[in-house]
Subunit: 147 residues, 2 copies
């Protein structure tokens, strides 16, 4: 049977996974946030097969996360740019990056972290806060239906 579609789920997490829950999409968005726009850039950065990359880029365009526009360098080629919706995934990637940094050992190669462009200092850890500003842990929230 085909992979289950979660697009009809009431849960926004499930709907998000339905859109970017596969192996490559978030990595493409990550690279796009770093400024990549061209097919060949993604291909080289990710080491993914062209057919898969084609498929994923098309899906991201269809979902409104990327859009095709004429190349900025004046050539006849086109490039993939993040939409506002796509840039919204920034926070998701920051969350994943922070979790990975703390919880998944990085091998010999070298570690990497995110700093702000201006002062080159590490970004603060994300915090979940209540409407009144209180810090919230995993057990201090609940999910409710909106009617």
């Amino acid at each position: 049977m085909r992979r289950k579609s979660l697009s009809g789920a009431a849960c926004p997490i499930a709907r998000t996974l339905d859109v970017i829950g596969d192996w490559w999409s978030l990595l493409i968005v990550r690279d796009a946030l770093r400024g990549m726009r061209r097919f060949s850039e993604f291909e080289k950065s990710l080491g993914v097969s062209k057919n898969i990359l084609t498929q994923r880029l098309r899906s991201l365009v269809k979902q409104g996360i990327l859009e095709l526009s004429p190349a900025s360098d004046g050539s006849a080629y086109r490039e993939y740019r993040l939409t506002t919706k796509g840039r919204g995934l920034f926070k998701v990637l920051v969350a994943m990056g922070q979790w990975g940094q703390e919880n998944v050992a990085s091998p010999a190669g070298g570690r990497v972290t995110m700093v702000d462009l201006e002062h080159h200092k590490p970004v603060r850890k994300l915090e979940v806060r209540a409407a009144d500003g209180r810090l919230l842990g995993p057990g201090e929230t609940m999910i409710v239906r909106i009617d």
Copy 2:
């Protein structure tokens, strides 16, 4: 060929995806954060095949995100509980939930949102901030190697 392993990547986002980047793992963690602990609860909630669920639960245990402990109801069965590492994924799920709520249309069914347990008011939107507290957008950060 086997799905590419990203466990050796310097990028913490890639390493995170290597651990929880598949279709079901994050949904299992989501349910675990809502208090689910038993095999049959996950099975019913997710509608996933038992063999896949078995596989995923085992993987999450091996990764240290879940751990097996004796059932709290005194029966001879065991249950899956989140570890501290697993609870750390809370922020990732909040980020995905907020993005999905704003960017992926929810169908007829009904919408859902996260509120704090105490006052039942919606949780604040996550913010990426610099060390000095400035709000940072996607273009105002960069990735650097730590030596």
